[in-house]
């Protein structure tokens, strides 16, 4: 089975009125990290996923899920 990590990061970020750079600054990572996570190129660590969820005020499981 080829499982991938789905995410709703872009929609959640835009709903929060943040740019990629703004979200990156808020959690202390580079903009390319936000960009690659949003595009599904990079799978974030648990720590980064939790930081993203906290910054966007969303539960982590609503931001990330396993896409079969």
């Amino acid at each position: 089975m080829n499982e991938t990590l789905g995410n709703d990061l872009k929609a959640a970020r835009e709903a929060a009125g943040l740019t990629q750079g703004g979200l990156a600054q808020a959690i202390g990572v580079s903009r390319k990290t936000i960009n690659t996570v949003e595009n599904g190129v990079f799978q974030p660590s648990t720590l980064l996923a939790l930081k993203l969820a906290r910054a966007l005020g969303r539960p982590v499981e609503s931001l990330f899920w396993i896409a079969d």
């Binding site: 600054q25 202390g28 990572v29 580079s30 903009r31 960009n35 690659t36 990079f42």
Partner: protein
């Protein structure tokens, strides 16, 4: 310009430097192999160049130095992932170049120094260009 933008600009600069280093390494190896320069004194500048390239490719300078906020952004999770991928590309390039040279060794006799030089150069060039490409692609 805020910290994230500064880090992004420096990351792009680092990627360009890595491309230039790759070209310099390739040119230096081609010239030395073509001219048959294997003497130890001629190898010294090359050792310095590969040492500097390899060191910059690793995250070691970030561990040794007291990292400022920009340096931390330039060595975040994605960058470390790109390092791992580029090391893998370098590993396979080294294996392939060594295997290729071994296969044609009977037709074209190479010295051990030349073989080592070509293998290391191939590995480093693959790693440097792979890292630079991944970094620039991620910044789009």
């Amino acid at each position: 310009m805020n910290l994230v933008e500064k880090a992004e600009a420096r990351s792009r600069g680092r990627a360009v430097v890595f491309y230039l280093l790759s070209v310099a390494l390739l040119a230096s190896t081609i010239l030395s192999v073509a001219n048959g320069h294997d003497e130890p004194n001629r190898l010294l500048p090359w050792f310095v160049m590969i040492g500097a390239s390899a060191l910059n490719l690793t995250g070691l300078p970030f561990r040794w130095s007291r990292c400022g906020p920009i340096a931390r952004l330039m060595n975040d999770e994605t960058t470390r992932d790109h390092r791992r991928s580029s090391f893998e590309a370098g590993f396979w390039a080294m294996i392939l170049s060594t295997a290729s040279m071994t296969a044609i060794l009977n037709a074209v006799p190479f010295s051990a120094v030349t073989m080592g030089r070509v293998a290391i150069t191939a590995g480093l060039i693959a790693a440097l260009t792979s890292f630079a490409t991944l970094e620039l692609r991620a910044s789009r």
